[in-house]
């Protein structure tokens, strides 16, 4: 998938999150990790999904809750990262 289309990226990530947690819909800025709606595997599953879907690799430098705390934050992270290999 292209890493230049913000709407497409957000739609793709939203679909994954909604397929992973028991909520009918998701506010773009809802904090996923403070809400208690995700299971203990969600963090690594979301990471794996992003790596596979957007053909990028995450590493130590990407470990920041600000990158993944919400749908908007995750979308912005993918746009920023834009397929660059991790350090």
């Amino acid at each position: 998938m292209s890493t230049a289309d913000p709407n497409g990226i957000k739609h793709t990530i939203r679909s994954f999150i909604l397929s992973s947690i028991a909520v009918p819909d998701l506010d773009d800025d809802a904090n996923l990790f403070e809400s208690g709606i995700v299971n203990s595997l969600f963090a690594v599953q979301l990471m794996t999904f992003i790596e596979k879907t957007f053909a990028m690799e995450m590493g130590r430098d990407d470990l920041d809750i600000e990158n993944f705390k919400s749908l908007n934050a995750t979308t912005a992270f993918v746009l920023r990262k834009n397929g660059r290999p991790s350090g």
């Binding site: 028991a22 299971n39 203990s40 963090a43 690594v44 794996t48 790596e51 596979k52 470990l63 809750i65």
Partner: protein, 379 residues
Amino acid sequence: MVEKREEFKAFVTLNVAPFAEQWDRDQQVPAGVISQMAQAGYLGCSLPPEYGGQGWDIVTFGLLNEAFGRASSALTGVLTVQAMVSMALLKWGTTEQKRRWLPPLAKGEMLGAFALTEPGAGSAMQSLVTEFTGNSQGLVLNGSKKWISCAQFAAVFLVFGTLGGRSVACVVPKDTPGLRIEPISDLLGFRAAGLAQLHFQDVEVPSANLVGKPGYALSHVAPVGLHYGRISTACSALGLLRGCFEESIAHAAMRKIGDKTVGDMGMVRSLIARMGTDLEAASALCHTACRAEDDHRPEAFEKTLMAKYFTSRAVVRAASDAVQIQGAAGCHGSSAVSRYYRDAKIMEIIEGTTQIHEDILGKIFVDQAGRCGPLARSD
């Protein structure tokens, strides 16, 4: 794939199976067999060639663990923890950490151990009390770890604890002053797996040894290691399950009772039918999990939980039935199934207990129902 399976079987038949009972009695695996595994490239088989590994896919890694698990659950533990440490470092290590630690791990010149469990924190990872504090020189580590597989022969430990209230993971070499390794013996099973308790007293380690960022050790670093640990354990349990099955059908076919064989008895056939079907189901679950990991699919984590959950429970049933089929002979140390029986129970405890798996998988399945809405009921 077939060639690899045959290679693994030949290695195990020659170097492992004839000695596994003695290792169990000695509560120790000799260094020689670990060197042979290293020379064969098995200890770094899933690491990329750029670090000296074999770059094998996870399906092949699973076959390796199954082959070793068929003969010695304890020795397979070396493959398990080596993968746990190596893959966590590969994913979250800095460039310098990977350059320093991965080549010796890949070549088997160095064995790693995954130091997560504590005397008061097993399944409850959030309860870790092992603590790192900072000083002008780096970090100071205090605390203890327990039930650490392969700790008796590991050269380096990936130690989990807290730093300023945040979870951290840190590489600690065995020869660091202040680290004392206390062997644990007389376990129910996995008696040759070199378990130990680790005592850290004012152990000084460089900050550069922290793996991942503070605050992410339990959410990201440990889950990667545990994921590979579960793949390894599931496949090792599959090998043990195959051992129970093969010993049972051989006994059932050969052992005479009057003019009939044990296998002519319907009750024995029932036990073997369940065992053989569990074997097929477990094999399918393990293969599915390995394939999902090779495809780098997010569901690989839950597929692996299912494989480990099912296979570890199935092997406990199978080992119990294998002893039952052999009767008194199965209760004696001269019978392989008596060891299988003891090792099988450990499979339900390591890398997450059965109950932890049920808690996680149960939530996943209930959440799936929640996403689909209430199920329609037919009256």
